[in-house]
């Protein structure tokens, strides 16, 4: 009698414990947003302590950065440690392009376009063969920059991006448009000329449209405005462009 | 042959153990240093032992008498503090040895282990295969030849140990407790092996605590006590002084000369 009572008591105790465990887990409130201030070691520490594993450490902190951004963008929109994480990852792995680009956009959300811009510049210095860095820098300057010069600065960035082999063909057009918008018509004309030269049929049409928007209508003034192209375009291409720009003009 | 001063390692000179002698040990001393303070402990205190060719000699003594150490020094596994050892064989490759409580490579099969031992003696190809097969048959392990040694019983390990001691067809065989762990059938097989070796003229020296086996197999015994050989002679001579070898042994190790035991 005593035996089965003891067994029953043991079973009841175990069931009660199991029930308590399940109930506790099931009714746990969702995790509150963690502290946005995270300890991020200095890159120097890892470069000294584990040079052979720096890219693995960079990857680990990159994943942490992605999770950190993901968590806080849904909760408190606070990214206090994001600049340090971005600096750590990109210092340990200067060719980790994705990390720069992700961090650059994430830092905009963090209200730090200045850090974002500086990060892209650093990325460009470390990866001069990647057109995305100057292109995004140009975009950030255009979108978030202040001051009268921002369009011209953005245009210069797009121009640098366009000079990288393999870059998209719309970059010269962007550079030209921004130069015109920034008030540097001469530069814009040259850029449109380059876009006409380097592009296909579509790009040439766009170049003609772009020039039409900034050139004076009066023939002589138009010709003076196009003078910079004489030194920057081959004769045959220039004649073709001029033929389109002066179609309908009477001598 | 020079005898070293205390503390020096002996310088031996070639000159022979003498005809008909397989093993000659003279004045062998061995001191080891134990513990944190490296306290010197003298294990061998001047061992003198002669084993003649073709004999089967039993080396007896209580635990800690120095039997195993004597054998190890004879094989060069340990350096003597003083004294000399001379082997009456062409080289160490003519000697076979079974250590006490042998342990072998767990993940090798019996066949692989013997083949490995044979390779160490430079045996190759077909000769090695045939020798291994014959040895496995001799020790009754043909059916377990391809089983890993970790699955062997103690007795099977003892038998493979004897097989590896014989892989080079030695002229002198040193066996340390060859009967340990064997069931009666195993002991009979080992005794037969030793008798076969004796029949072929192989010299055998073995340590054992099983005095009935010693009585059965040996023509000659040496009894050690506290690092010395205290009695050395034929089995018949021992039995002339006591009813059984056990009784003789107890008298020798219990008091030796003082107990009136004649050499």
């Amino acid at each position: 009698m005593g035996g089965w009572l003891r067994r029953l008591a043991a079973v009841l105790v175990v069931l009660a414990c199991a029930g308590g465990v399940v109930a506790y887990q099931a009714t746990r409130p969702p995790k509150a947003a963690s502290d946005p201030r995270v300890f991020v070691p200095s890159p120097r520490f890892f470069l000294d302590a584990s040079p052979a594993f720096r890219t693995a450490v960079a990857d680990a902190y990159y994943l942490l950065m992605v999770q950190y951004y993901g968590e806080h963008v849904k909760t408190d929109m606070r990214f206090d440690s994001l600049p340090q994480m971005a600096e750590l990852v990109t210092t340990l792995s200067p060719h980790f392009t994705r990390a720069y680009l992700f961090a650059a956009f994430a830092l905009i959300d963090a209200g730090r376009p200045d850090v974002s811009y500086e990060l892209l510049q650093r990325g460009w210095r470390a990866n001069p063969g990647d057109w995305r860095f100057p292109a995004y820098a140009g975009f950030f300057v255009y979108r978030y920059g202040v001051g009268k010069e921002k369009d011209l600065v953005a245009s210069r960035w797009y121009q640098r991006a366009a000079a990288v082999p393999g870059s998209p063909d719309y970059l010269p057009r962007l550079a030209a448009r921004l130069a015109a918008k920034g008030g540097d018509r001469e530069k814009a004309v040259v850029m449109w000329g380059q876009a006409y030269l380097a592009g296909d049929k579509y790009a040439r049409r766009k170049a003609v449209e772009g020039l039409e928007q900034i050139l004076p209508k009066e023939k002589q003034a138009r010709m003076r405005a196009l003078a910079p192209l004489v030194d920057t375009m081959p004769r045959a291409a220039l004649e073709s462009l001029l033929a389109e720009l002066f179609r309908g003009y009477v001598d | 042959m020079s005898v070293a001063q205390s503390g020096e390692r002996v310088e031996t000179s070639p000159g022979g153990a003498g005809d008909g002698v397989a093993l000659a040990v003279r004045g062998l001393r061995k001191t080891v240093h134990v513990g944190f303070w490296r306290r010197p402990v003298e294990i061998l205190r001047g061992v003198d032992l002669t084993v003649r060719r073709g004999e089967v000699v039993g080396l007896l003594g209580p635990n800690g008498a120095g039997k195993t150490t004597t054998v190890k020094v004879a094989l060069g596994l340990m350096r003597p503090t003083a004294g000399s050892v001379e082997l009456g064989v062409a080289s160490l490759s003519r000697v076979g040895y079974l250590p006490e409580n042998p342990y072998f490579y767990e993940y090798l099969t019996g066949r692989e282990f013997l083949a490995f031992c044979a390779r160490l003696f430079g045996l190759g190809g077909r000769e090695r295969e045939e020798r291994v097969a014959r040895l496995l048959a001799d020790v009754g392990l043909e059916r377990a030849a391809d089983v890993q040694l970790r699955k062997y019983s103690k007795g099977m390990l003892q038998r493979i140990g004897i097989a590896q001691a014989l892989v080079n067809e030695p002229e002198l065989v040193l066996l340390d407790e060859p009967m340990t762990g064997l069931d009666p059938v195993g002991r009979v097989e080992v005794k037969r092996i030793i008798q076969r070796l004796h029949g072929r003229g192989t010299t055998v020296l073995f340590n054992s605590h099983i005095l009935s086996d010693v009585h059965e197999l040996c023509s000659h015994v040496a009894i050690m006590r506290e690092g010395r050989v205290v009695w050395d002679g034929e089995v018949a001579a021992a039995l002339a002084q006591a009813a059984t070898l056990e009784e003789f042994f107890m008298r020798v190790v219990g008091g030796g000369e003082a107990a009136g035991v004649a050499p």
Binding site: D48, S50, P51, A52, R54, T55, A56, D59, L63, V66, S93, H95, F96, R98, F102 | R9, V10, T12, S13, P14, G16, A17, V21, K72, V73, A74, L75, G76, L77, R79, P80, S84, V85, E86, L87, G88, V89, A90, S91, L92, S93, Y97, P99, P102, Y103, F104, E106, Y107, L108, E112, F116, C117, R119, L120, F121, G122, G161, Q164, N168, L174
Partner: protein, 275 residues
């Protein structure tokens, strides 16, 4: 028949008579390889390593399109870590286990020299390490190929050079095991690996010393600790700086020489020891 004289020091060349040295080395190496590769603990560790490499796939899934890079970095980390654990712990117990289990008596009662024993053990374990690392490296290579759609030769090159680093640590661990216990040898072996990653820092220390004694001590440590980072190309596998192969080749030769010295020391020490 003239008697042979016993009791020359163990390991003395005069002791080793018949039995060609190289064939003994080969026999011990083959034996060691068979013993170690069949060890079930080794299999468990290798399976675990493969699972960890597969785990890098999960990390890749949260990396916003960087699956290939994550697989390479964390995969090579697993290859290095597990390769090291396997070889250091086996190397540490290789000699010690034989002494404790007394299989050395079986070996040295035959015409086997201490040198052949140490070198044979090292070569046998090298074969085992090669099998383990090759297995993990090829597995990783196949996964990276499947993810990125193209083969990455750098993954194989990085694995091969990890093998060289592990071999170096193994040789030093075997040296330690001739004088220390298995656990201590393993710990010291791992410390040598860590120190080998910090060789450049030790060099800096030699230039910071304010007195001759610390500078000299730093120099000794710098020379003694193997420079393992010089043959590390893991960063190149994920697109960081391309390695200078000429320099890597020279440093690889340095590590081979280092291994030879470590083994020679191990043989010299083991010869002096009674087993």
């Amino acid at each position: 028949m003239s008697p042979v004289v016993c009791c020359a020091p163990p390991g003395d060349p005069a002791r080793r008579r018949d039995g060609a040295g190289l064939s003994q080395v080969g026999a011990i190496a083959a034996n060691t390889f068979r013993e170690t590769i069949r060890d079930r603990v080794l299999m468990v560790i290798v399976v675990f390593a493969l699972v960890m490499i597969l785990g890098a796939l999960w990390l890749g899934s949260i990396s916003l399109g960087q699956e290939g890079r994550m697989m390479k970095d964390f995969g090579l980390l697993a290859v290095t870590g597990f390769g090291l654990i396997v070889t250091v712990f086996i190397a540490a117990s290789l000699v010690r286990k034989e002494v404790e289990k007394r299989t050395v008596f079986v070996l040295f009662s035959k015409p086997v020299s201490r040198g052949a024993f140490i070198v044979g053990k090292f070569l046998g374990l090298s074969l085992t390490a090669a099998a383990v690392l090759a297995g993990m490296g090829l597995f990783l290579f196949a996964l990276v190929w499947a993810i990125e759609g193209r083969p990455s030769g750098m993954v194989l090159a990085a694995t091969a050079l990890v093998y060289l680093q592990v071999e170096t640590v193994m040789a030093v661990t075997i040296l330690f095991s001739t004088v220390a216990s298995a656990i201590l040898s393993a710990v010291l072996g791992l410390c040598v690996f860590v120190a080998g990653q910090l060789s450049d820092n030790v060099l800096s220390l030699t230039r910071l010393g304010h007195n001759a004694v610390t500078e000299a001590a730093s120099w000794v440590v710098f020379v003694v600790v193997p420079n393992l980072t010089a043959v590390d190309v893991k960063a190149a596998a994920v697109g960081e700086q391309a390695p200078d192969w000429g320099s890597v080749a020279l440093w690889a030769a340095y590590l081979v020489a280092y291994i030879v010295v470590a083994l020679a020391l191990a043989v010299a020490v083991f010869r002096r020891r009674e087993v």
